[in-house]
């Protein structure tokens, strides 16, 4: 198990839990209510995190995903 594969849990958790973590109007960021700015920030972070995972997957010698079995179980 490559630990970096768990990285996306952070943005996913931040987005799913945004109602508990960031349900505020202030501070406003670029004019946006804080809740909306929080969500926008983590959506952008999702892209960055997936790029990191993609790069690390591409660098590792093993195939990124185990080969699929041909036969149905």
């Amino acid at each position: 198990m490559r630990l970096y594969r768990l990285l996306p849990v952070i943005p996913a958790g931040a987005l799913v839990g945004s109602g508990w973590i960031a349900n505020r109007l202030e501070p406003r960021i670029l004019g946006l209510p804080f809740l909306l700015a929080w969500i926008v920030g983590w959506v952008v972070a999702t892209s960055v995190v997936m790029l990191i995972v993609y790069r690390l997957d591409a660098r590792s010698p093993n195939p990124a995903i185990p080969p699929t079995r041909v036969e149905p179980e």
Binding site: L35, V44, M50, A64, T68, P72
Partner: protein, 483 residues
């Protein structure tokens, strides 16, 4: 004919022309027609998936939610990102299995994974039942867009008929190639329109995005944060999770995964798509700008907010471009749904024994396209507002496929075919009961804390689903072993 109408008509013609041209002398086997011969590159896959995901529901619905409900609308921005994270691993696994086993449709996948034809038929029926209201909603949206943008010069009925005829013709002739090429135009147009409107309207009407939110907060305190009860933080979290689970389980989205040439496309998509879906942010801005400019739209009329504020603000030719973008957001997913439903009915319900290259399959599938379109038309004109309830039920229906999908991708599948069938049946029955009876966690558990009562009731159906699937799988596994 006013300028708006001319531009909308031109976009119709362009979509039809591109759709017809997309065929380019291909021999249309079912694989070619339904999944593009598994030869689409990363960019086409991106456009196709984006084209299916950003529908009239997002264009009109997201602005409508921002207008009508405020902060709860933000969930729309979240679930996509969560779904794309999952797709990084799920989509390549589904794609690889489909390619190795020569699969064409979503029910193929489940029938093959569980080695159970009855399960395949069941998944096929669930998919078709879920897709019809989705198609009806696209058609209704199309009618609204054309009639509003043409200032009533074209009635919704005429617009819907024209739209259906265009889609039926190009789907029958070019299949998924038509959807992909229309999606190219649609995506460029919708991106431009959404960003322009989202920046221009707040600036012009309220002096910028910050001042706009100041005014909203002054007029409607609490509108820009989640309420303490109802659509609260726990509603938000549970709804984001459920919608993300259902995201790729729509049969037409699932099926379009098969059309990729290489699984690399999906991993790249998972990087780009979250950024791309920030377009929704600008759609929210339009909804908020409309709230102050064209107040008073109640209930489902909130979906008209984007068009009403555009008609009030812009010259007809700008409205025409907005309308054209709206028309394409209906045509692309509409064509994918029609094609998927026809493929599923012909391959998984009617001609179950035919191999994918059987020449009868594409003939039958194409023949079913106008039939399915006619059914959707009937519901569009006769269905009334209950269609929104049906759509929500459709989303909940496809989400019930999640346990069977996720388990089938594990190294050792804990579920048997019989277990998967039992889970799906029990889950769907719960969805129907909950939707029709308007049941919620609040009504089921009147004494539970608020955060439990606000949970999306879709979770109840998933729990029932998993429980039934587990019990039947355990019993079934033990039975034959003893005998």
């Amino acid at each position: 004919m006013n300028a708006a109408l001319a531009i909308i008509a031109a976009s119709f013609a362009l979509a039809l022309g591109l759709g017809l041209r997309a065929r380019r002398g291909r021999q249309m086997s079912l694989t070619e027609w339904a999944v593009g011969g598994r030869a689409f590159g990363a960019i086409l896959i991106f456009l196709l998936l984006a084209g299916e995901i950003y529908t009239t529901f997002t264009f009109l619905g997201a602005s409508g939610w921002a207008y009508g409900r405020g902060a709860p609308a933000f969930y729309i921005l979240c679930y996509g990102a969560v779904a794309y994270i999952m797709s990084y691993w799920l989509a390549p696994a589904i794609w690889r299995y489909a390619r190795t086993n020569d699969l064409v449709s979503q029910p193929d996948f489940f029938a093959h994974k569980y080695d159970s034809r009855p399960f395949g038929i069941l998944v096929a029926l669930v998919g078709v039942v879920a897709m019809i209201p989705y198609l009806v909603l696209q058609l209704k949206g199309l009618g609204i867009i054309v009639s509003e943008a043409s200032l009533g010069a074209v009635s919704p009925t005429v617009a819907i008929w024209l739209g259906v005829i265009a889609v039926v013709v190009y789907v029958m002739i070019s299949g998924i190639h038509a959807s992909a090429w229309t999606a190219v135009v649609k995506d460029i147009l919708i991106l431009g329109v959404a960003i322009f409107l989202g920046l221009y309207l707040p600036a012009r009407l309220h002096g910028g995005i910050g001042p706009m939110f100041d005014t909203i907060e002054a007029q409607r305190p609490g509108f820009l944060t989640l309420p303490a009860t109802g659509q609260s933080a726990s509603w938000f979290a549970s709804t984001v999770l459920l919608t993300a689970l259902g995201f790729y389980l729509w049969p037409h989205t699932f099926g379009s995964i098969y059309s990729a040439k290489a699984s690399e496309a999906f991993r790249k998509n998972a990087i780009v798509m979250p950024l791309y879906q920030l377009v929704m942010l600008f759609v929210f801005f339009v909804g908020f700008a409309a709230l102050l400019e064209v107040p008073g739209l109640q209930g489902t009329d909130a979906d008209l907010a984007l068009l009403r504020v555009s008609v009030k603000t812009f010259d007809p030719w700008v409205v025409g471009i907005i309308g054209a973008a709206g028309v394409l957001t209906a045509l692309v997913p509409g064509s994918m749904i029609l094609m998927s439903a026809a493929t599923i009915l012909s391959k998984n319900v009617i001609l179950r024994d035919a191999p994918p290259e059987d020449p009868r399959l594409p003939r039958l599938a194409k023949g079913l396209v106008p039939v399915i379109a006619a059914v959707a038309l009937w519901f569009t004109f006769r269905g009334g507002d209950s269609i929104v309830a049906l759509l929500l039920m459709g989303y909940a229906f496809v989400t019930q496929l999640a346990p069977a999908l996720l388990c089938s991708l594990l190294p050792r599948n804990p579920l048997t075919g019989a277990g998967a069938i039992a889970g799906l049946v029990a889950g769907e029955a719960t969805v129907a009961w909950v939707t029709i009876g308007k049941v919620s966690f609040a009504s089921l558990l009147p004494d539970a804390p608020t955060w439990v009562q606000d949970l999306n009731v879709g979770f109840a159906a998933l729990i029932v689903n998993v429980a039934a699937a587990t019990v039947v799988s355990l019993v079934g596994r033990r039975g034959p072993a003893r005998a």
